[in-house]
Every structure is written in structure tokens, then in C-alpha cells.
């Protein structure tokens, strides 16, 4: 297969108003490709693993940038960079789970360019799929990874359905844990979707990782004050300490009363295509003391239903250990 590294010819649109972008996206529909920071986009297009007729560059739309306090939490423009999130005082003070997660994305250089909207909307990193093979996710009828000889060390433990690619976003589990809402606009208007419902697994949609459809633009992420200043825990384990995707990550928020867990949201990353909320663990620790003993008593629940592939069995103890650490901390 040919190897490329220059951009192919295509139309380029650079709107400065979101309304214009929506109109262009609506007109181009699936002929168009939205780009913010481009950290997911350019690899696809330069490699020719995906091709489009036109690119809609959103980066000049100022209204999609910035972090605003609202009456009930904050709203983050989808084009806000990950570095801006890491450095935001209000996020650091009230929602440090998100700034911690954003701070572990890729590398400083990528965080300077990469946006929150792009990070949560990025495609999966299955190397077979990225190579341009005609797998289920790419419209074919085969999963190269889910075979006895598949090279699937980074792949999913849960909810594989013709595709076992794991989600790559580090901020996605944090946003699910924070019960965020995704603001989506199209030519027909605006709708909001709970973060937990924004991400889509292969059983529901084999070719998309989010609910975004042609013509849609993710414009903002809202984080309610519900979990502001809760007790947070984020940890990402990757082979390298920078410029690497999670092997497994954990994002957790706890509300405590007298040391007991009143409520919690515990979300694992990189164990399935979507962030995996560990509701059985949340239920099990409700009313329990947040300590090592509780953690050890429930950690195994985190992997109930896990199906290890040929090379990713290590994710089972790793996820259990991260749950233990989140609850023990």
C-alpha cells in the first residue's frame, strides 16, 4: 500500500462564525470533515486512510473558545485547548478531575493545539483500523484484532461487538464522571446530550464513536455544579509518561459524609470503546467508608464481564488495581 505524508487536495472552508460553519456542515453533510486542533484529523487524511472532499476548519470561530462560569457550573467551548483547561483556575478549583485528565493527554505540544471537543470526539486507535484495513468499523466484514492471533494488547475488555477497539480519550471518562452535558448544534437547532450518552459503542453504531452526525458540531461542554469540589481521583497508566494513550485510566468523583461514600461516579477509560461507568462498584461502596478495606472488597467487581483477548489480559488486574487506588485514596 502506498505511504503518504502530504495532505491530499480538498476544499478548505475557514468560517469565523459558528452559524456559517453550521451552514457549511449542513450543505456538505458527509462530504465534509470538521477539524479543530487537527491532532486526529491530519493522520487520517495524510495517510489516506480516510478521504474527504472538503475540510471545515473551525479554529477561527472565537465563540467556540473559552471557559465560562454559568449559574450551574461551567461551560467550556469545544475549541478550548487542553492546555487552557489544565491551566484554568476555575477548573482546577472546582473540577480538578478534568484538569488532571487533560494534563495527561498526549504531550504538551499536542495539548497546546488539541481541543476538548477534538479529544472527546476522536476516533479509536485500533492500529488495524488506522492502517486503513477494511474492518467492520471501516465498512468491511472482519475484525482483525479479535482473533486468537490478533495483536490486541491495547484493545477492549468489554462490549466488543464486531469491534474491540478501545476509546482513546483521557478527558472522556472525566467528563462522564462529572456528569457533563455535551452541547450539539446543527442547522436545525441545538440539543444537549449527557456525556454518558454522547459516546457510542460498536453494538449501537459500528462506524461512529459519538452521536455526532453529518451537519452536527459539538459547540460546548457543560459541567454542572453537582460534582463541584467533590473528592476526585484520576490516574492514567500508559507505557510512556508522555505522548502515549492509556492502557487503562480511571476517573472518579466521590461525595463523602463523615468518611463514608454518599455518592460516587467511577469511570474507566481504554477498556471499551466508550468510557465505562462502573455502576456496580458505585453501588457497592455507597454508604461504605472510603478506605483500602472497602476498595479491596469491591475491586474485583470492576472487571465483572470482562473478556480478555490474546494480549490484553493484563488490563483486568490493572483496572482492578486502579479502582482500588481510586477508592483507597
Amino acid at each position: 500500500m502506498p505511504s503518504h505524508d502530504v495532505m491530499p487536495n480538498m476544499e478548505l472552508y475557514q468560517p469565523v462564525q459558528v452559524e456559517d460553519a453550521l451552514a457549511i456542515a449542513d450543505r456538505l453533510a458527509d462530504r465534509g470533515w470538521l477539524v479543530g486542533g487537527g491532532q486526529d484529523t491530519y493522520g487520517w487524511l495524510k495517510d489516506r486512510a480516510k478521504s474527504v472532499d472538503a475540510m471545515i476548519d473551525l479554529s477561527a470561530i472565537e465563540s467556540l473558545r473559552g471557559i465560562r462560569e454559568t449559574g450551574d457550573g461551567i461551560e467550556i467551548g469545544a475549541l478550548t485547548t487542553l492546555t487552557e483547561i489544565v491551566n484554568s483556575p476555575v477548573i482546577q478549583q472546582q473540577f480538578s478531575l478534568l484538569s488532571d485528565a487533560a494534563g495527561r493527554v498526549a504531550s504538551p505540544q499536542i495539548r497546546n493545539i488539541g481541543t476538548l471537543g477534538g479529544n472527546v470526539s476522536q476516533d479509536v486507535r485500533c492500529w488495524y483500523y488506522r492502517r486503513g484495513l477494511s474492518c467492520y468499523r471501516a465498512g468491511g466484514n472482519l475484525c482483525y484484532a479479535d482473533t486468537p492471533q490478533g495483536m490486541n494488547r491495547e484493545h477492549a475488555l468489554f462490549e466488543g461487538s464486531r469491534c474491540v477497539a478501545a476509546g482513546a480519550s483521557d478527558t472522556a471518562p472525566a467528563l462522564v464522571a462529572l456528569d457533563a452535558t455535551m452541547v450539539i448544534r446543527n442547522a436545525g437547532g441545538e440539543r444537549t446530550v449527557a456525556a454518558e450518552d454522547y459516546f457510542v459503542g460498536p453494538a449501537n453504531d459500528i462506524q461512529n464513536t459519538t452521536v455526532l452526525r453529518p451537519g452536527d458540531i459539538l459547540t460546548a461542554v457543560r459541567i454542572p455544579s453537582t460534582w463541584a469540589n467533590a473528592n476526585f481521583y484520576f490516574e492514567k497508566v500508559a507505557d510512556r509518561n508522555v505522548w502515549d494513550f492509556s492502557l487503562v485510566s480511571i476517573a472518579a468523583a466521590f461525595k463523602l459524609s463523615g468518611g463514608n461514600v454518599v455518592d460516587s461516579r467511577i469511570v474507566a477509560g481504554a477498556v471499551q470503546t466508550t468510557p465505562r461507568r462502573l455502576t456496580n462498584v458505585e453501588n457497592a461502596i455507597r454508604g461504605q467508608v472510603r478506605n483500602a478495606q472497602t476498595a479491596e472488597s469491591v475491586m474485583a467487581m470492576a472487571t465483572t464481564g470482562a473478556r480478555a483477548l490474546a494480549h490484553n489480559g493484563y488490563k483486568i488486574p490493572l483496572l482492578q488495581n486502579l479502582v482500588k487506588r481510586a477508592i483507597s485514596a
Binding site: M1, S3, R48, R153, D239, D244, L247, Y314
Partner: protein, 812 residues
């Protein structure tokens, strides 16, 4: 007292590298230049049935296509620049297309249709050795070196591909970690009596092991730009070396040495993959000739993964016998190398590492290198030695534990010294001071103090402490030096050493300045393109340059000194022996007022002609050096000589590394708390650069021990990690902020400047020390793998078995 050697200076290319002004091959443009891109194989193995480029050739802006038919045929087992009939790995170049822009060239390759016939493929050498297993080439699966008697008894050394299968019992044995009895090997040697050695052992360690190959990832993907003028080829290339390219590249282009101008002012990394001219260079130069216009052939990052070559992987088995006093009495070693598409392995170098690390009393080595349908393999920083160091270190620790001996003390008992030997032939070394390095490192690192600290570090954290040894042969002999004293009095040091990023091209020139006692500001290094008249030089690989070219510059300077004295004696009377040099003058030792400046002597050399100004030169210098001397003849006083400094033995580069880690048993991750290394590399020629080499090598050692590996899907022969982010070379956050390096700094007696090389062992020692520390943190558990990755550590701690693919290469 030394004026240059052992003192810091700033190599002249540094400002250009910092500001970006320096040019790499890709930066050059030429009027009428076109851009060529490669079309590569999508299959791991197949036959090219038909190529239809008609649609591409009809595109506006496309100027030509270049295939194997445009190059001389290369018979197996050669590595052709372009595949002719058979393709043997994904990414193998099949043809090049040239166009007036890169965009058009890339679009054109998408419009070329190739019909292939698929062939069986194999990505695992053991599978290829199995009865009924696939062969990577139609002719077979093993590269065999041949040696036949030619005319008048002269040996003819060659290579061929053979089909070798092992009995199933040997396959079963090596897969289960036992000696593959009955397996056929292509390299075998032994010394002593290993059975007697094992019989004398108080303890025996017997282990299987596997090391993964992985690519070089040179930041500068190998780009070339070539054009022809008046029958000469001007070739801008990316190479570790300078003069070492000329002869081979001239052959590729079928021209005389004098008709090639090779230009390479700076190179963005090579690490062994760009030592000499690589096959792909033939495309650029010959395509430019066919098109009669300048051609730039740039490759992609992914193509650099494919054709940039890679370290060979190995699967092996070792048995080590240790006497009660710690002396290694016997070693039995088996290595099956993954030779990729080029077939060569480095098992013999791995065995050589064992001889240096242990100085065993008895040893046997058996090796075979098997072709697989994976990327070409070649030299990569300490090929063989460094990966062996990584897997050997924990086994060495196990052997020490078996006789209740401290790990550093064990290594000290077995350390090589100046009377020691290296390799299966037990050849001598020029000098070695490893015991001194171990003692110095033990103190510097605080080995005993760290050992006394508790292993548990709180929570899930445990401490691990490790030690390892890296080795590589570090020097050559017989190359040429060339210096010129100009009529301006300046010293022009002509260097055929490549600027590969190690700055050895500059460091070695300090020997000439030292010998001629010229201040550095009055010296100029002439390098970077062969029409600047550069002498025959070694390739910049194998850590050889410091030893090799401090000597060549030294002997050239000595020749210049002799001529200075002769000129002075001719003009001022007396004998040459009556004169000495100093302060850039040559003068009578008895009366310093009787003398002349270097500038005056250079003027007189031109007037006197002959050997003094290069019209005559020694008979024993290389043809390339002869051309260089002819080029500078008449422009000053010429010092030129072949390095005939007497001596024998291999100059060794040896490094001892010490590492302390904090291992998190929950996550399998660790932090390197401390790393210190002590070099036995003779005199440190350039301290600042020595520190850089120590740091850079240590970083890559972390990659070897923990992160980097080839992964191929055995179902379709596709590589899983062609990109940098997938291949995971270490980042600045994966290595300690501060590391510590020192040197024994005892001069090598066979180099007038005292120096030996040290580049390659810097990686091996760090990898070995880290592997030793990982094992120590986990109570001596042996992974027997390089790398030992996060998932392996987690699986071990969780009590999981390894994956079913454990101890295979090219896999997770």
C-alpha cells in the same frame, strides 16, 4: 600537558544546528528539481506479476517512473533497492515516480496498478525452522555465509540462501525453553571444554530468552537529492559517514570515484542504519541520470520504518556454570536471530558480549539467522551486544545469588582486564580497566548504601537496584589522515568523518591541533562534501571513530611536523632533527630565534613542491585520499599518512551502569530514581560530548529494556507500530532528569591521544542495569525478555501466565 585532548570546545556546526541554518539533504534545492516518491509493497511476500503505470504517466506534472529494470540486477541474497520479481516485506520499495511537485508524485503512486501473486509468509523465525514452515524467500529461509577456495588459494567469501528445517523435537525444545538438541546452526565456535566447565561449577543457571527487534527511527528520514553535471554526480545524502560512502556509492552509480561528489554536512541520526551507502541511494542517483534533471527522493516516516532497517531480534537459550569463587566456568549459548528480509543477525556479537562480560573459562556458541518477511535488519547501536546485555544482566544476578555473592563483586571477579580476551577467537584487547570502573561506579552510585535501604518504599512501591555492563569493540586501524597548513598559517584538518550528531568529526580533529600545537581558533575543519578533498575514513559506526581518527589525524600531523622540520633545515641550515615546533613556528631547539612561522613554511612548501605540497604522496594511502591530496596539492604544506601505528588487539569500549528504580506493583510502572555510569574508554577526548553520549545512550537503553519492539500480525504480516507514537521510544518524562557519568580515564596505550570509543555501550549498560533493577524489585524474577513491558510486569504481579506468545519475537 594536553592542550586540546580532554578539554571542552564547541564543534563548528553547533550554532547552525541550534539556529536551524545548517542544511540537511532535504533542504537542498536545484533548478529544475523534481520530487520522487516510492510505491511500496502492501504484501509481506509475493511476486510482482504486472505493473501498469500508464494512468500515472499521463498525469500533468509526472516526469517519469523508475523500476528495478532501470538498475543492475541484484542476485539473492542481496538487498535490492527496488524489488524486481519478488517482494519479501510490507513496505519494500517497488518503484519510484517523479513529478514536478510532491503532491503530484503522491497522487501518481495511487494511480499505479500492480498485480501481485501472493506467497506464503512468515514473521517468526522459529516457525520458519519448523518442519513444513514457510520460507521468507523462494530459495529458502536462512542466510548462509560461504567461503570457498578461489584461484591460487584465495578465499572467496559470499553468501547464499538455504532451506533449513529443524527436527520437531528441537522446535519443541526451544519453544519450551530447553536446549534445541538436533537443531542445525550456521555459526558455531567453542573454546575450552564446556562439559568440564559445567562439572566444575558450583551452580548452573539455565534460561531461555527473547529480544525484540525494533527500528532506528532516525529523525531525519533518509532523503537524497542528486544531480549530474559534466559527467559528475553531485549527491546530497543522509549518512552517518562521509568518505566511507564514496566507493560504494560510486559503484552503485557505475562511475569512477573522481566523478562522485558526496555532500553530507549534517545528518539527523542514523544509529547504525546509515553507516555506508544503503541500496535506496541507487534510486536517487540513477533516476536523476535517467531524467537528466535533479531528483529529490524523500521518504515518509512510515517508509523510514520499513527501509530504515532495524535491530535483529533473537530467541535463545543459555546455560551458565559458576564456580564457588564466582568465576564463570562455562557458558553454552544458542541464538536464533530474526534476520528480517535481509537475513543477517547479530548473534555472534551477542556471544561476543558474553565473552567480555564473563571472560568464561570455557564457552560454546551456536547460532543461526533466519529470514522473516519483516523489515530489513542491520546494525543498530551495539547490535547483538546491547540486547544481550539487557537479558544477561538479570541472569548474571541469579548466578551471583546462587553462590551468595554480591552482584557487583560477581561482575568484578569476571571482569575483563588488559590481558583479557573478546569473542570466540579469544582475541586480545588493547587495554581494559573494568574492575576500576566497577569500583568507581560502586562508590559513585552508593551501591552499598542503597542495598542497605529497605526494599519496601510504602504502599505499592518497592525499590530495585541494578548493575549492568555494556561492551562494543571501539576502534579500527589503517585509515588515512590529511592536514594542510595554509599560507595564512592556519591549520586545515581535512576530515572524512561524517557529522552524524556525535561530533566525533570535530573531536578527532583535536588530535592534529594537539600534535601541531595550534590554538583551536586557528584551526579549520574541512568536511561535509567530498570535493573539499577529504581522506579515506572509516564508517561512523561501531563506536570506532574516536580511536580510529584521533590516530589518523595524529599521524597526518606527525607527517606535517616532519615536513616543517625538513623545510626549516633546508632553508635555515642544520638537520631536521635540530628543530622543534611551538607557538605555530618551527625553530631550532638550541636557538628559538632561528626558525620560521607555519605560514612561512607553508609558502616554502609550495615553492619546494613534491611531497611538501602534495604533488607526491605515500604509496600506501587509499585511492580516495590520493584524490584528496591531488585536490589540495600546491595550496600549502600537506601532511598526509596512513595510520600505521603498531599494535594489536581490539580497542574495547566498556561501560558499567548502575540503576535504582521505584516500582509500583499496582501498575507495573516504575520511576528511575538514579542512574550512574562509569566508562572505560581510555582518555576522554571531549568531556562535554562524552556526557551527551552517556545521556543519549542511557535514554535509548530505557527503550531497549522497557519500551521498544517490533510487532507483526502473524495473520497478515502487517507491522503494528510503524509510527513514532506507536513504537514508543522513551520521552524526557520516562528517564531521570539527572544522570551521572564518569570515566576511569586511563589512556589506551595504542592511541597517542589515549582515547577509545564509547558510544554503543552507553545503551547496553543502561538497558542491563535497568533490567537488573526490575528483576531486583521483583525479588529476582526473570522475565528473560527485552523489552520487559508494563503488561508483562502486571501479568507477573497478578500471577497471570505470560501471553501464549511469550518468548516469541515480533509480538506483544
Amino acid at each position: 600537558m594536553s592542550t586540546h585532548i580532554g578539554r571542552d570546545f564547541t564543534p563548528p556546526c553547533v550554532p547552525g544546528k541550534v539556529t536551524g541554518e545548517i542544511k540537511y539533504a532535504e533542504d537542498y534545492r536545484r533548478e529544475g528539481m523534481v520530487f520522487a516518491r516510492l510505491l511500496t509493497s502492501p504484501l509481506p511476500s509475493g511476486r510482482v506479476v504486472n505493473i501498469d503505470a500508464s494512468e500515472a504517466l499521463r498525469m500533468d506534472g509526472v516526469v517519469g517512473i523508475f523500476t528495478a529494470d532501470d538498475l543492475p540486477p541484484v542476485a539473492p541474497p542481496g538487498n535490492p533497492a527496488l524489488a524486481s520479481e519478488y517482494v519479501t516485506y510490507v513496505g519494500q520499495p517497488i518503484l519510484a515516480v517523479a513529478a514536478i511537485t510532491e503532491e503530484i508524485a503522491e497522487s501518481a503512486i495511487d494511480r499505479i496498478r500492480i498485480d501481485f501473486e501472493r506467497r506464503d509468509f512468515v514473521v517468526d523465525p522459529i516457525e520458519s525452522l519448523t518442519p513444513g514452515g514457510s520460507n521468507a524467500y523462494p530459495e529458502g529461509n536462512v542466510l548462509v555465509r560461504t567461503r570457498e577456495e578461489g584461484p591460487e588459494g584465495a578465499p572467496i567469501i559470499g553468501a547464499e540462501i538455504k532451506d533449513i528445517k529443524w527436527p520437531q523435537s528441537a522446535i519443541d525444545a526451544i519453544k519450551s525453553g530447553r536446549e534445541p538438541v538436533g537443531g542445525e546452526f550456521t555459526t558455531e565456535w567453542a573454546f575450552g571444554d564446556i562439559e568440564a566447565g559445567f562439572a566444575a561449577a558450583a551452580a548452573i543457571v539455565e534460561e531461555p530468552f527473547v529480544t525484540m527487534g525494533y527500528p532506528h527511527h532516525s529523525l531525519e528520514a533518509r532523503t537524497g537529492m542528486a544531480y549530474w553535471e559534466n559527467g559528475k554526480c553531485y549527491f546530497h545524502g543522509s549518512s552517518q559517514s562521509q568518505s566511507a560512502n564514496n566507493a560504494g556509492l560510486a559503484r552503485m552509480l557505475n562511475i569512477d570515484l573522481a566523478d562522485l561528489v558526496f555532500i553530507n554536512e549534517a545528518t539527523g541520526g542514523g544509529f547504525g542504519s546509515k553507516i555506508g551507502p544503503y541500496p535506496f541511494m541507487a534510486i536517487t542517483g540513477n533516476f536523476a541520470r535517467v531524467l537528466n534533471r535533479p531528483v529529490q527522493l524523500r521518504i515518509t516516516r512510515e517508509q523510514e520504518f520499513y527501509i530504515g532497517s532495524a535491530r535483529s531480534g533473537m530467541q535463545g537459550w543459555i546455560k551458565i556454570g559458576v564456580k564457588a569463587d564466582g568465576k564463570v566456568s562455562a557458558v553454552d549459548l544458542v541464538i536464533v536471530n530474526d534476520g528480517g528480509a535481509t537475513g543477517g543477525g547479530s548473534g555472534n556479537s551477542s556471544a561476543q558480549h558474553v565473552t567480555v562480560a564473563y571472560q568464561p573459562e570455557n564457552m560454546r556458541y551456536r547460532g543461526i539467522s533466519v529470514y522473516t518477511n519483516t523489515t530489513p535488519r542491520g546494525a543498530q547501536r551495539g547490535p547483538g551486544q546491547n540486547e544481550m546485555a539487557a537479558v544477561l544482566a538479570p541472569m548474571t544476578d541469579k548466578a551471583a545469588a546462587a553462590i551468595s555473592m554480591d552482584r557487583v563483586a560477581f561482575r568484578r571477579v569476571n571482569a575483563i582486564n588488559s590481558d583479557g580476551f573478546e569473542g570466540g577467537s579469544q582475541g586480545p584487547v588493547t587495554s581494559a580497566f573494568v574492575r576500576e570502573a566497577l569500583d568507581q561506579g560502586r562508590r559513585m552510585f552508593g551501591w552499598d548504601e542503597k542495598l542497605a535501604q529497605p526494599k519496601a518504599m510504602g504502599g505499592s512501591k518497592v525499590r530495585g537496584i541494578g548493575v549492568g555492563i555494556g561492551y562494543h569493540g571501539a576502534g579500527g586501524r589503517g585509515y588515512d589522515g590529511l592536514v594542510r597548513i595554509g599560507t595564512d598559517g592556519r591549520l586545515y584538518i581535512h576530515s572524512g568523518v561524517g557529522n552524524l550528531g556525535t561530533y566525533s568529526y570535530a573531536g578527532t580533529c583535536r588530535a592534529a591541533a594537539e600534535a601541531l600545537q595550534v590554538p583551536w581558533e586557528n584551526c579549520e575543519i574541512v568536511h561535509g562534501r567530498s570535493d573539499r578533498h577529504l581522506p579515506h575514513s572509516s564508517g561512523q559506526g561501531g563506536s570506532n571513530t574516536i580511536f580510529t581518527h584521533t590516530r589518523t589525524n595524529w599521524v597526518a600531523a606527525q607527517d606535517a611536523i616532519s615536513k616543517l622540520k625538513e623545510i626549516a633545515a633546508a632553508d635555515l641550515g642544520g638537520a631536521a632533527a635540530d628543530y622543534i615546533i611551538g607557538d605555530q613556528r618551527v625553530f631550532r631547539s638550541a636557538d628559538s630565534s632561528i626558525g620560521m612561522t607555519y605560514a612561512q613554511a607553508a609558502q616554502r612548501a609550495i615553492q619546494m613542491g613534491g611531497k611538501y605540497s602534495g604533488q607526491e604522496y605515500p604509496d600506501d594511502i587509499n585511492p580516495l585520499t590520493q584524490l584528496a591530496v591531488q585536490g589540495v596539492a600546491g595550496s600549502g604544506l600537506i601532511g598526509v599518512a596512513k595510520d600505521n601505528i603498531p599494535g594489536q588487539g581490539q580497542p574495547p569500549g566498556i561501560l558499567v551502569g548502575f540503576c535504582e528504580i521505584e516500582m509500583d506493583k499496582d501498575t507495573g510502572k516504575f520511576e528511575i530514581l538514579d542512574y550512574a555510569a562509569i566508562a572505560d574508554c581510555g582518555t576522554v577526548v571531549h568531556p562535554k560530548n562524552f556526557d551527551n553520549a552517556m545521556r543519549g545512550g542511557a535514554v535509548w537503553g530505557v527503550g531497549l529494556a522497557n519500551l521498544e519492539r517490533h510487532v507483526y500480525d502473524p495473520q497478515n504480516g502487517l507491522p503494528a507500530n510503524t509510527g513514532l507514537y506507536q513504537s514508543k521510544p522513551p520521552t524526557n518524562m520516562d528517564v531521570p532528569v539527572q544522570t551521572y557519568a564518569g570515566a576511569v580515564n586511563i589512556p589506551d596505550p595504542q592511541n597517542p591521544t589515549g582515547g577509545r570509543g564509547i558510544g554503543e555501550p552507553t545503551q547496553g549498560a543502561a538497558a542491563a542495569a535497568l533490567a537488573s533493577a526490575i528483576s531486583d524489585a521483583l525479588d529476582g524474577h526473570l522475565f528473560n525478555t527485552a523489552p520487559t513491558t508494563t503488561d508483562m510486569i502486571i501479568n507477573h504481579l497478578a500471577g497471570n501466565s505470560y501471553s501464549t506468545q511469550s518468548l516469541k519475537t515480533n509480538t506483544f
